[in-house]
């Protein structure tokens, strides 16, 4: 069933582009590659590893092992017709509705046999304890081994060294579970690809900062969190390049992402993963654009292709999803300034302790630089209690407030 979903998606996009080559867009390119990844995951042809979002996927790609993280597959499953059913499965099995929707979706679909069996599961305590628990549960359900990557909270040389070693052990464990060896040349090539992708990404983000911004509220949604799945591959470079080219051509044509851009917004945490009209409403009614998503950021230096482990370790540790709020908040403030935003929207994803638990601390730091934050109460994955009307009212009020005050910049 899910395989069919991906196959339909792939052929649908390909046909659409064939019929009308003008309709090709970077967003379609990303959707196409995502569908292909989904196909690989569900066709049983590849060696799969389920991993947490801070695990170095490029290393797995270099081993020709297909990586996938829970939040990614959950966000895809929720858009299928069976989405609500999976939540009900999970809840009937005892997974409390107080927990994160991503993980509930994952467990509900796994119990229905809708998650492909991996060779190994890799998890870390970052970004969240709930995610680690979900991976442990999956390991139990699949009767597969679990490898735990301990990502230190603090950015110290000592911590980096320890994690680098641990990543090495992880690669060995992947090897012994899949029979795939980590070829030195392929690893070097993968790291070079990662660095190329990184450079293009950083250029994309620079373009996105322009006023008015060439991006609309949808172009780069989920971008910074999904793209790492393609790190280390040529496809990753192609996707990034297509976004860069598109933004560049918009700028050349003097076209902003949202026509007549008046309000620039930051979206915190993660996007709402099911169909909704909020972003379009922002564009249409207020000429407001989400110019930056919190996770669309590069916090790491290029990785040394000759000795990648230190660089990979540093990258995982430096993620805003890891460590104290202080670091995350600093990053958010930096982005707020770089993108000259007028306001930020925090969905406060229901059940997310690590992210939503920082609500008040983000608020007060943003207040210091004069940027208002709208805190919503949304389950970003579970559509069953989604009250769009109420959310629209709150967002409209927030927009009216932003319009009535001077820009912080």
């Amino acid at each position: 069933m899910i395989l069919q979903h991906f196959e339909d998606q792939e052929s649908g996009i390909m046909n659409a582009i064939k019929k009308n080559p003008e309709s090709a867009s970077p967003r379609k390119k990303l959707a196409l590659e995502t569908a292909r990844l989904g196909k690989r995951l569900y066709s049983n042809a590849d060696d799969l590893v389920w991993a947490g979002p801070l695990v170095p996927f490029d290393l797995l790609n270099a081993m020709e092992v297909t990586p996938c993280f829970a939040e990614f597959i959950a966000s895809i499953l929720v858009s299928t017709d069976a989405g609500p059913l999976f939540f009900e499965n999970a809840e009937q099995a005892g997974y409390a509705s107080d927990t994160c929707g991503y993980h509930r979706m994952l467990m509900g679909s796994a119990l229905k046999g809708m998650i492909p069996t991996p060779k190994l599961l890799i998890s870390a305590m970052s970004p969240c304890t709930g995610g680690l628990a979900a991976m442990e549960n999956l390991a139990r359900v699949f009767k597969k081994d679990l490898f735990i990557l301990h990502i230190p909270q603090k950015e110290s040389d000592h911590g980096v060294r320890i994690l680098a070693n641990h990543i090495r052990n992880m690669a060995e464990s992947v090897s012994s579970h899949t029979g795939k060896v980590l070829d030195k040349d392929r690893l070097r090539k993968a790291m070079e690809n990662t660095n190329k992708t990184r450079d293009i990404l950083s250029n994309i983000y620079k373009l996105a900062q322009q006023v008015p911004s060439p991006v609309n509220g949808r172009d780069l949604s989920n971008f910074g969190i999904v793209l790492p799945l393609f790190f280390g591959t040529e496809v990753g470079i192609e996707i990034a390049q297509s976004f860069y080219d598109e933004l560049k051509s918009r700028i050349k044509a003097n076209r902003s992402g949202v026509p007549g851009e008046r309000i620039r917004l930051m979206w915190l945490q993660n996007r709402i993963q099911f169909k909704n009209n909020l972003v379009k409403m922002l564009e249409k009614e207020f000429n407001a654009s989400i110019v930056i998503d919190e996770l669309n950021v590069i916090t790491w230096d290029p990785i040394d292709p000759e000795d990648p482990y230190i660089g990979l370790a540093r990258r995982s540790i430096s993620s805003p999803l890891n460590g104290t709020v202080e670091r995350r908040v600093k990053q958010i403030v930096k982005l707020a300034e770089a993108y000259k935003i007028d306001g930020a929207i925090n969905p406060c994803h229901w059940g997310c302790r690590q992210g939503t638990g920082a609500r008040g601390l983000i608020d007060s730091s943003m207040k210091e630089i004069g940027v208002p934050v709208l805190n919503l109460e949304v389950d970003c994955v579970d559509p069953r209690n989604f009250a769009e009307g109420q959310l629209i009212t709150r967002i409209e009020a927030f927009m009216e407030m932003i319009e009535s005050r001077p820009s912080p910049w």
Partner: protein, 259 residues
């Protein structure tokens, strides 16, 4: 031997008087602010119906939310055990009981002797409770006893996405304003209630025969929706509200015999 069972719930109080194995009389009264007084009122009425006096009662067991404040009871037992006991007396083949009371809702599994083997309770949320139905009846301006019948007139269910009483109330108001017929709103409300209680039932597992007790069992609209979901025809006694008090009376009989 004459024994009494007194069930003090959040919205109503009931007393059942048993003479050996026979129900001599019963009463249902609305709960007042004072539980002890409600218990007395309910028991006085049952005594009157049976034409006996308080001194004739050999043993009394209290149950329900207000069970600890019934001054004349010899003992108290939870309403969970009592509902299983009472349902078993009325329907010896019962294995699953759904009790929808005024303030909470319970799914109970029992064995052939009416002994509880598993249970789940929902007491933090109003969905599936008498209070929820009252609120809805009030919003729509329909008498509580008529909402079941009215809902059956609906051609389709209005979409009530939330089973939370607070949200459902505002959803119902806005549906009403946009001209949706009351019957369809009620049918939607009943659908939301049925989904919630079905989830509760699934926590304990459903096995026939299936009994529904409590005040909401009188709401034919809810019963129909629950029956559809469960896939079993629920057994409902003539007076579903007294099942708890009946169970308490049956326990009183056992305990009195034991001495």
């Amino acid at each position: 031997m004459i024994v009494a069972g007194v069930d003090i719930g959040s919205l109503s109080g009931e007393t059942v008087i048993l003479s050996d194995d026979k129900i001599l009389s019963y009463s249902i009264v609305r709960t007042g602010a004072d539980s002890a007084l409600t218990a007395k009122k309910a028991t006085d009425e049952a005594l009157k119906n049976a034409d006996i006096s308080f001194e004739d009662i050999d043993y009394t067991i209290a149950t329900g939310y207000g069970r600890v404040i019934v001054p004349f009871a010899n003992e108290n037992i939870t309403e969970i055990s009592c509902h299983a006991k009472g349902a078993n007396y009325l329907f010896p083949t019962v294995r699953t009981i759904l009790d929808m009371g005024g303030q909470d809702c319970k799914a109970i599994r029992c064995n052939e002797k009416g002994k509880v083997t598993n249970f789940a309770m929902n007491d933090k949320c109003a969905a599936g409770t008498g209070r929820f139905c009252e609120v809805m009846a009030d919003v729509l301006g329909i008498a509580l006893e008529d909402i079941g019948k009215t809902s059956l007139e609906a051609k389709k269910d209005a979409m009530i996405s939330s089973a939370c009483a607070v949200f459902a109330k505002s959803e119902a108001v806005s549906l009403l304003r946009s001209g949706v017929p009351k019957s369809e709103i009620l049918s939607g409300v009943h659908e939301a209630i049925a989904s919630r209680v079905f989830a509760l039932l699934q926590r304990v597992g459903i096995e026939g025969d299936f009994v529904i007790s409590g005040g909401i069992a009188k709401n034919i609209g809810v019963i129909k929706k629950v029956a559809e979901k469960v896939g079993l025809k629920p057994l409902i006694s003539e007076e579903p509200q007294i099942v708890g008090a009946l169970g308490a009376a049956l326990f009183a009989k056992e305990r009195y015999k034991k001495g």
